[in-house]
């Protein structure tokens, strides 16, 4: 019998319909305001959930059932007011050990929430900040070169290799390694001792390539450069370290569901949904502030003499004090750097009543601090506040990187006692103390970062985008439905059924993939709706043609579908090519467009060909006498 579908095809279509309906369903429920609690490090403590619940009950926020999910505790609240109150209460109660953030939880019923989740909304729909950050790899390399220069000094001293000095030259341009690498020139008294040293150094340092040459004055020099492999390692280490640090900092800010991802070899994407205070977010994410502890060299007379001469003695460095800009000399040797600070918090110094940062050193730092302070009781120790900045600016049509480094002495005090792992530093204002404590806790950036792209969408615009997007999908959809019903009658209604199914399937697939829905993504859905009927138009026009040619009704249906299929496939594959190019090139929102367009093309092939055929077969198939088709 013509135009009958085997049972399995109906079952398949039925299964797809059920799948689509189930997975699209969560999107109808919307979100509930929620508060999310996570530990800064380690796991949540036992009984936290009960403690929070009691706290909220006492404050009159009842009916909250804390739910543990992965390493987070989630609290669903009735409205936005309660959400804010609960956040403030909890964060005051739990203090520094926990991050308390505002979040939204899908209001999907539990049975459905088990397996299906609503679509993930992009930043342009839910509001939030998108940053693209460029890691300053040149300064990461410079730091590596400086580190090697220190290592070389120590090594040659220990090995009793006599040399005159090490000079670090900065890179001017990319060399044959493809990177901007600088060089270290080790000067020697004569060529023989240089060549002897080269043999030892070559064996010891696999990451450096050495070459023998003469400097401008003709003295023998061993030049060391990082190998290309070492540079790549340094670069990827810098990128990884920065991602970790940024993640820690974002956690400190208390943002729910942040995205921190590497993009390419030297960039990091940071997305913070729902964050409004972008100023603070930028300050904290881009900050490089850290501390260094050094011993003070000489007395005030020496300091002013050095400032006058504009030059520090060989074993010392010239600094300025932050409070009054007066000069001070510090020893070259660093006692402790910010890297060795394990924990930090801000507060008020009980003696002076000024803001202070309380720091805790790690084992290595504490040991060193203990030894140095024991040896130097009665001497001055200074705290140096360091900040790095890098900016790319356009000057005379050229892009130029500008780096600046601020190093100030914020405090110099006499060592009265042996210091160990915990102590405090004053000399900052309260905001600075708070931010510095946060930065020290989160760890330092290995290399400075620069924000090269920012896209912030406020909550009202996000909501407008959703509303208008939804409205235009609905109106566009309705217009197409009406047109099809009028123009193709029964067949048009069948096509409309398929089109609705297509819309549900797109939403279901987007939801189950947890792909991000953006405003261009919605536009992609709209466009798909318009284009999805194309397959049906092709088929129906073909059927009309066959009927005009005098073929029987059943034969016309059969031929219409069969002849149109290759055309539909060809036409859709080419559109798919454009969508794939769009996806591979595009950034965030554009990718969203490409995704919905691709999914729409695939689902429309299914619904418009198989879906409509199944219904048409049900209506007309198997009947021997169909005089006329309503097409």
């Amino acid at each position: 019998m013509p135009n009958r579908y085997p049972l399995w095809k109906y079952l398949l279509i039925g299964a797809v319909v059920v799948f689509g309906a189930l997975f699209a369903l969560p999107n109808l429920y919307g979100d509930d305001p929620a508060v999310q609690i996570s530990a800064r490090s380690g796991a949540l403590e036992e009984g936290l959930s009960g403690r929070v619940q009691t706290l909220l009950d006492e404050a009159g926020i009842s009916g909250v059932e804390p739910r543990l999910e992965a390493d987070k505790l989630l609290l669903r609240l009735a409205d936005g007011d309660q959400q804010l109150r609960a956040r403030d209460l909890i964060s005051a109660e739990l203090g520094n050990r926990y991050t308390v953030a505002l979040n939204l939880l899908p209001a999907t019923p539990a049975w459905l929430g088990e397996f299906a989740r609503p679509m993930y909304l992009g930043l342009d729909l839910r509001g939030g900040v998108h940053f693209l950050m460029q890691v300053d790899m040149d300064s990461a390399l410079q730091q590596a070169e400086e580190r090697y220069s220190e290592e070389l000094r120590t090594f040659m001293r220990e090995e009793k290799i006599r040399y005159r000095g090490i000079l670090r030259r900065e890179a001017v341009a990319e060399d044959d390694s493809g990177y901007r690498r600088g060089s270290l020139s080790i000067r020697f008294g004569d060529a023989t001792s240089r060549d002897a040293a080269l043999e030892v150094l070559d064996d010891e340092y696999a990451d450096l390539e050495f070459s023998a040459r003469e400097d401008e004055r003709g003295s023998p020099v061993a030049e060391a450069k990082l190998t290309a492999e070492a540079i790549q390692l340094e670069r990827s280490a810098a990128l990884d370290q920065n991602v970790i640090t940024l993640r820690n900092r974002v956690n400190e800010l208390g943002v729910a569901e942040p995205v921190i991802q590497k993009q390419g070899a030297e960039r990091i994407v940071v997305q913070l949904p729902g964050v409004q205070d972008t100023g603070r977010a930028k300050e904290i994410l881009g900050a490089t502030a850290t501390l260094e502890y050094r011993l003070v060299e000489g007395t005030a007379t020496d300091w002013y003499a050095a400032a006058e001469a504009g030059r520090a003695p060989p074993n010392a460095l010239l600094y300025q004090r932050r409070e009054d800009g007066t000069p001070i000399l510090l020893k070259r040797q660093v006692i402790v750097t910010g890297d060795q600070i394990k924990d930090a918090s801000s507060g008020i110094d009980s003696q002076s009543g000024t803001p202070a940062v309380f720091v805790t050193l790690d084992g290595k730092g504490a040991k060193r601090m203990q030894r140095v302070s024991a040896e130097n009781i009665g001497n001055l120790m200074a705290v140096v506040f360091i900040e790095n900045r890098v900016e790319t600016v356009e000057e005379n049509g050229e892009l130029v990187k500008k780096r600046s480094r601020v190093e100030e002495v914020i405090n110099a005090a006499t060592i009265r006692d042996v210091l160990s792992h915990r102590f405090q530093t004053t000399g900052l204002d309260s905001t600075e103390a708070r931010d510095l404590a946060l930065l020290l806790r989160a760890g330092a950036l290995k290399a400075p970062v620069e924000i090269i792209e920012e896209r912030t969408v406020g909550p009202s615009l996000g909501q407008d985008n959703i509303d208008q997007g939804f409205l235009s999908v609905m109106i566009g959809f309705a217009l197409v439905l009406v047109f099809m019903a009028i123009y193709y009658k029964v067949f048009g209604l069948v096509a409309n059924l398929a089109l609705s199914m297509n819309l549900v399937l797109i939403v279901a697939i987007l939801s189950s993939l947890q792909a991000t829905l953006t405003l261009p993504g919605i536009a992609g859905i709209v466009l798909t709706v318009g284009m999805a009927v194309d397959a049906n138009v092709l088929i129906f026009e073909r059927i009309r043609e066959e009927l005009r040619n005098g073929n029987s009704v059943q034969a016309s249906i059969q031929a219409g579908y069969e002849k149109a299929v290759t055309t539909i496939a060809d036409a859709n594959i080419t559109t798919l090519i454009a969508a794939v190019v769009l996806f591979s090139f595009g950034t965030g929102p554009i990718k969203g467009f490409a995704i919905t367009l691709s999914i729409g093309i695939l689902t429309s092939m299914f619904t418009a060909i198989m879906g409509t055929r199944a219904i048409i077969n049900l209506i007309y198939g198997g009947r021997r006498r169909v005089a006329k088709l309503a097409i």
Binding site: L132, Q276, T278, G279, K282, G286, E391, T392, V393, E394, E395, L399, I451, I452, E453, E454, R455, T456, G458, S460, L461, D464, N465, Q468, G469, S472, I475, G476, L479, V480, F483, P520, I522, A523, V526, L527, V529, G530, M531, V533, D534, V537, L538, E545, K563, T567, D570, A571, I573, T574, T575, A578, A579, V580, V581, F585, T587, P589, I590, F593
Partner: protein, 310 residues
């Protein structure tokens, strides 16, 4: 019987010379507009700042400009966006300063001019703008190359050249309209342009498919006649699909909000031009290259002939 086969309702191809002239004029106009006026690139491609704020009531632009001028942002471009209470501020990348903090300063200045909320801030560094420009051009190029290859494999060389001619035609004219009207050209518009390529090609392929089928099936008729028949057979489909697509695009244009305006506009222009080009430009180019029956005879058995048996 066979004469019947070649009967057409509209002599579409008969007007191909007029269409050719029209297309050439449009293309020349588009190129001239692009050369003289150029595209009004958005911050995505130029780099710089874009700040959109919503005031609680409608606001005059004069005081806003004055406040920005006093705040040291005299070069800011200020305009209403969508409604009289929405204001869009554009700043070029600054020589000597380039900090993401700048947008905070601008917002600070604006806050003194009335009660407002931040709706959107976009900052694109000069290096990113340059990359997006480059990548955007490449994306269009890659899409075209991918399509040439596909059409070549599925159809034939002349068809592949014809479809690309139609696509270049569509892209140029759409760009031309953007140049003439001065509508902003940003990333979403570029995405729309790629979608136009996909759409217009979709149309062209359907026509080609029918031409190929008829070339193989019909015993008589010159290539011109066969094309005329093919275009007639697919004409209603071409127009109906364009119509439904235009319906949703108009909904998007009028209801989708100002953020998506340029995107919808580009697609609307593209769909209209694309529909026209799939009928005239693509087929005319193939014809001009001297397509013959031999070009389209199946190389291997494809089962086509068997299918046509009643």
């Amino acid at each position: 019987m066979q004469n019947d086969e070649l009967n057409v309702r509209w002599d579409v191809m008969g007007k191909r010379r007029a269409a050719m002239v029209l297309s050439l004029l449009l293309i020349i106009a588009a190129i001239a507009a692009l050369a003289v006026r150029g595209l009004n690139f958005g911050v995505d491609f130029t780099g710089g700042y874009l700040i959109e704020v919503g005031y609680s009531q409608s606001v005059e632009l004069g005081p806003v400009r004055a406040a920005l001028g006093d705040g040291g942002f005299g070069d800011a471009l200020v305009q209403h966006f969508g409604t009289a209470s929405d204001v869009l501020v554009r700043l070029a990348p600054r020589e000597g300063v380039n900090s993401a903090q700048l947008s905070e300063q601008v917002l600070g200045v604006l806050r003194d001019t009335g009660e407002l909320e931040m709706r959107r801030v976009e900052f694109v560094g000069p290096q990113v703008g340059e990359e997006l420009r480059e990548q955007g051009g490449l994306a269009v190029l890659y899409a075209l190359i991918g399509i040439v290859i596909y059409v070549w494999l599925r159809f034939e060389k002349k068809f592949s050249v014809g479809s690309v001619a139609a696509l270049v035609h569509d892209v140029l004219i759409t760009l031309g309209v953007f140049a003439v009207t001065g509508m902003e050209f940003d990333l979403p518009v570029l995405a729309a342009l790629l979608a136009v390529i996909g759409y217009s090609l979709n149309d062209t392929i359907v026509v080609f498919d029918r031409i190929r089928e008829n070339f193989r099936k019909m015993r008589t008729g010159t290539p011109l006649e066969i094309m005329n028949v093919s275009i007639n057979q697919t004409l209603s489909r071409t127009l109906i699909t364009s119509l439904t697509t235009l319906l949703v695009l108009l909904a998007l244009f009028f209801l989708g909000g100002s953020a998506i305006h340029g995107f919808a506009a580009a697609l609307i222009i593209g769909v209209v031009v694309g529909t026209y080009s799939s009928i005239y430009v693509a087929s005319t180019s193939v014809l001009a290259m001297g397509i013959t029956k031999q070009d389209l005879m199946p190389v291997q058995k494809e089962g086509e002939e068997l299918d046509d048996m009643p």
